[in-house]
């Protein structure tokens, strides 16, 4: 039972990090209907800046610069590529972001080289003990941050003009322009915010239970894909729920690996995808996603 609780706590805490990454996907998807594969490299950029600067300017300043840096880079991607692309479909744009991701990741991993970079966070390796269960403080922080940000975005999308403008632009940028929406600003803003979120997510992805940022950090972002899809690509709530489900699934499947040896060891990494497939079979647009409307 203790093990179960511990695994559950672990799962929830990792899930919070996935949720933060997934939120980045969701925001860009809502704003531009693009599945942003370059999110992983934004993560790397944010983390890289923090790692490089924390020693000289202190952690919090470095974090701010990292967030700003990733936001600027994301805005640049929007400005230089997304805005200018004249594509026949959003899938093509998604593939274009794969191209961007490859370029950025290649260059960044070249910069990072073989190093494992610490981010200099204040939590270090402290853990929080809740009875017999212990959770890393970084993860508690991640959970709180994720919950706060996700709620904030949920409200923002629904109730602010910014949210309305963003969704309008996503659906039909020409008509949105007729409403006086500045398309450039809106979608660039969304990208910048997603970039900033990526830096925050990178922080939690690269601190304590993991040793630091290195070239393989981007792979961790892959797990946020099933999280985002499972929850529904256009739902902020979905990002949170999806992240948690993926985190918990992964933790339980890894933790009970011995009991499930018949599924093959290492099932912990595959299980999130299996869960996603099952959910999609029942709900093709994820748990909270809006079903595509069909009428003629």
């Amino acid at each position: 039972m203790i093990t179960f609780l511990e695994l559950l706590a672990n799962g929830i805490s990792v899930g919070a990090v996935y949720a933060l990454i997934a939120l980045g996907f969701v925001i860009i998807f809502k704003a531009t209907e693009v599945l942003n594969f370059a999110h992983a490299s934004l993560l790397l950029v944010g983390g890289f800046i923090v790692a490089k600067l924390h020693a000289s300017v202190g952690f919090w300043a470095a974090l701010l610069i990292g967030i700003a840096g990733a936001a600027v880079l994301a805005a640049l991607i929007e400005f230089l590529v997304i805005r200018r692309a004249n594509v026949s479909s959003h899938s093509v744009l998604a593939i274009a972001t794969i191209g961007i991701d490859i370029v950025l990741t290649t260059e960044l991993t070249r910069q990072i080289g073989a190093d494992v970079l610490a981010l200099g966070d204040p939590w270090r390796d402290q853990v929080l003990h809740l009875g017999a269960v212990s959770i890393a403080q970084t993860r508690v922080a991640a959970l709180v941050v994720a919950a706060v940000l996700i709620t904030a975005f949920l409200l923002a999308f629904k109730y602010t003009n910014w949210g309305i403008a963003m969704r309008a632009t996503a659906e039909d940028s020409e008509t949105a322009a007729l409403m006086g929406v500045r398309r450039g600003r809106v979608s660039m803003g969304a990208w910048a915010i997603a970039g900033a979120l990526a830096a925050v997510a990178a922080l939690f992805l690269c601190v304590f239970p993991t040793p630091g940022l290195d070239r393989s950090t981007t792979f961790a972002a892959m797990k946020a894909f099933p999280a985002a899809i499972l929850g529904g690509l256009d739902s902020t709530t979905g990002a949170l729920v999806g992240g948690l489900i993926i985190g918990v699934t992964e933790a339980l499947m890894s933790g009970y690996q011995n009991e499930m040896a018949f599924l093959g060891r290492g099932i912990g990494d595959v299980a999130p995808f299996l869960v996603m497939i099952v959910v999609l079979l029942i709900r093709p647009a994820g748990l909270f996603g809006t079903r595509e409307l069909a009428r003629v």
């Binding site: 805490s13 950090t217 992964e250 011995n258």
Partner: protein
């Protein structure tokens, strides 16, 4: 047609000096291939290997070369990608007499058939058991399973693990992890221990769930056959969660780059790794000279285990070439034959290897090394090389 094909066995010829030559050998040059990882997950290791080998060949050339010929290298980066390795082999294979190193067992596996067909002396920089059993392929020192057997032995003898205990083993999917697991399971069975397995992928970063699982089973020690990053996470999380047990890693589980990270202190506490090759900080004259030469040639470059491993591998190849020259046969087959005639190689580097058989590891001797902030290469010998009785009895699965 002057077409050079990779497929057809190139004709052997006899040079003016009466030495039989084949692909990769001309009247005044000998070409060696290096298939390394400069852009993939083992980039730093690959870089050290390559630089150390180039240093070695340069030294040999300065001293007059081998068999009156200069040594030349062709380096190809496969980035830990099997297809690139196959492509690279097709390119450089026909031009090389031997492969002074190739990083990663998946890559070796991918071209194994061709290496055997070409009878190309090849030194893998990987220690999976599956690489044994092939005449031209020479795994240096111990394999991962031997290391783990010696590691379990070390735990029982010096770390208070006793019969009936459980030990954890965290390992990578793939031949590295699974061949290490073979060793630990064998040793555990012999010593009355139970192994709690946790298999992960190279992309996993956070070992919290695995630690929880180990903790639930109340393991008394943990074996680690993963990458350095996962090691750091595992060790760090374990200590933070109050699971204070000894850790014993395979030689690829540790890297000095981890010491400055938050996991550094945990690694310094109770972590050891097992290696067939002596760490570069060991006080053998050969190692000291290598460290000095390397620092002179590549000033400011960090030294890690790749330097000594690569240098020794280069030595193996060059000695095989020298021996082949003595018997006037520098064809690939000649080089392999010459290589296989040596039964006690490498005293100077601290591990004596027997190359005459190829279905057994060249050595059963493992060092226990321990991270050390101040030491060259980030580690020191904790326990001199030794063979456990278990390892001697162990039948290596070959195939």
């Amino acid at each position: 047609s002057e077409k050079a094909t990779g497929g057809a066995p190139a004709a052997s010829a006899v040079g003016s000096d009466g030495v039989k030559t084949g692909p990769g050998v001309t009247a005044d040059t000998i070409t060696l291939g290096l298939m390394t990882d400069l852009t993939g997950p083992y980039a730093s290791f690959g870089k050290s290997l390559t630089q150390a080998q180039q240093l070695y060949f340069e030294q040999i050339n300065t001293a007059g070369g081998v068999c009156g010929r200069r040594l030349e290298t062709i380096v190809r980066d496969h980035g830990y990608d099997a297809q690139k390795a196959v492509a690279a082999y097709t390119e450089i294979g026909p031009k090389s007499v031997a492969l002074a190193h190739i990083v990663g067992s998946p890559m070796v596996n991918a071209i194994k058939q061709r290496i055997e067909a070409d009878r190309m002396l090849t030194i893998p920089m990987a220690w999976a058991t599956g690489l044994l059993g092939s005449e031209p392929i020479q795994v240096t020192g111990t394999t991962y399973d031997i290391d783990m057997i010696n590691g379990v032995d070390f735990l029982v003898k010096e770390k208070g693990v006793k019969s009936g205990d459980k030990i954890g083993h965290l390992y990578f999917e793939g031949d590295y992890g699974e061949s290490a697991l073979n060793g630990s399971k064998y040793a555990a069975e012999k010593l009355g221990l139970t192994v709690v397995e946790q298999k992960i992928k190279a992309t996993d970063q956070d070992m919290s769930a695995q630690v929880a699982a180990f903790k639930a089973e109340d393991v008394k020690a943990i074996l680690v056959s993963v990458g350095p990053k996962q090691t750091a996470s595992l060790v760090g999380v374990s200590l933070a969660k109050g699971m204070d047990v000894p850790f014993v890693g395979s030689n690829s589980a540790y890297s000095p780059q981890l010491l400055p990270t938050p996991a550094g202190p945990a690694l310094l506490k109770d972590f050891y790794y097992i290696t067939g090759g002596a760490p570069i900080s060991s006080d053998r004259p050969a190692m000291k000279k290598l460290a000095a030469d390397y620092a002179a040639k590549y000033p400011g470059v960090e030294i890690d285990s790749g330097v000594s491993a690569g240098y020794a591998a280069a030595g193996i190849v060059v000695d095989a070439l020298k021996k082949a020259c003595e018997s006037k046969d520098l064809s690939r087959a000649g080089v392999v034959a010459a290589h296989r005639s040596q039964s006690a190689w490498g005293e100077a580097f601290g591990t004596t290897m027997d190359f005459t058989t190829f279905d057994k590891p060249a050595s059963l001797l493992s060092y226990v090394a321990k991270p050390d902030k101040d030491a060259l290469g980030g580690s020191v010998i904790f326990k001199e090389a030794a063979v456990s009785d278990l390892a001697k009895e162990y039948q290596v699965p070959v195939g």
